[in-house]
Chain length 261, copies 2
Amino acid sequence: MEKLFVIKIGGNIIDDETKLSSFLASFSNINGKKILVHGGGKLATRLAEKLGVEQQLVEGRRITDAETLKIVTMVYAGYINKNIVATLQAHHCNAIGLCGADGDVILAHKRQHPVLDYGFVGDVDAINTVLLKNLLNQNIAVVFAPITHDQQGQLLNTNADTIAQEVAKGLSRDYEVSLIYSFEKNGVLLDANDDNTVIGKINLSYYQQLKAKQKIFAGMIPKLDNAFAALNNGVKKVIIGKAENLEQLVQGSSGTTIENE
Amino acid sequence: MEKLFVIKIGGNIIDDETKLSSFLASFSNINGKKILVHGGGKLATRLAEKLGVEQQLVEGRRITDAETLKIVTMVYAGYINKNIVATLQAHHCNAIGLCGADGDVILAHKRQHPVLDYGFVGDVDAINTVLLKNLLNQNIAVVFAPITHDQQGQLLNTNADTIAQEVAKGLSRDYEVSLIYSFEKNGVLLDANDDNTVIGKINLSYYQQLKAKQKIFAGMIPKLDNAFAALNNGVKKVIIGKAENLEQLVQGSSGTTIENE
């Protein structure tokens, strides 16, 4: 099977023009099929402040009222998405920017929660892979803004990590998928305060050992649980590492590789 | 050749939720290949006011400084484009929203003007039809936001009427293209103040007669000149009429049809 890289770009890169530009140059250099998933929370928060739309975050998740949905649709699917695509074109990487409503590519439903109303927040139900495969096979890189829809006309704000994972899982029947989460750290660390203690490879048994010895920083546990869930759903490997090292992450020579052995 | 409808939706419809919803229901009902081109100037102006970004219009054209480019990219390619796509999906019309940078579909250059600096305003150089044909042949309707790019990483604000015309011309080798300009009037009128004086059909000799007799309202002359230019570049017919009558415009039973006979 042909290789496919599904790459989530960390929020700290989106906010930094120099870092973003260098990240996109590296992304353009990746040989073969590739998908980029971005968020852009800080820019959305800044626009909301300017417009006087109060933002409410619960455990890092944005409560998305109607005005906030407008803002994230404008910032994620408009400003950030189209500027990323234009920059990739300048690097001779043909790219297309989509949200989940485009081509009905990501179907979601409004989150139901027993206590909390998250507002217009979507949980993903299905990835429609026909159009994605068609675009990838034309050697077009797909750039996803984290906005989905419910097929009833409602756009929904959706977690970008989740979109990366669902897209990776959905395409794993057709491609050998590497799912890369790029962020501000060098990888999964043995010592959360020492960026030189990156764990190079983790499989399930090693992860269970590390967890038993409480060697995994609590904040990494959901990321790793999600990584193993992706592996159980057909994704070949998950790589977590520093966005600035994207080319090495792709080669597996930097960051933490999570793989079933 | 298969038929293709390229439809420019008037600004007054974009601003009116009820009218927009009914327009999109009609658009969904059109059989066959179709492309929608929208603007959204009033919503952009409103956001600019809220953000305190002063807008300068010269002969109806927006001077696009860097802040205004951000605003139109957010409003046109984000908010309006994605809401139109989600609404079309709810009507079971599969649609994809693009700007000119996506798939490198519309290449433009920054307008050069001897006296006036229009800012980040683009004039169209080329339509890349390969991806468009591919999408249309999957029965996906394409929805264009009036933003293009210069292949150097710069997004450019571009007139939506021009985009509709260039896309129609570009695809006229592959399809029998009808270019529809929907707006607030019933069509080209003999008496600008009487909406019941629609001219049903105009060819070039009739247009020249009407112009010689000064029977054409001055504001319509650029639209009609553009229509004949489109016909000279392969477009089969141009239809100008009321957005509310979209289904009749498509059938040729309402509005003004401009055609070489």
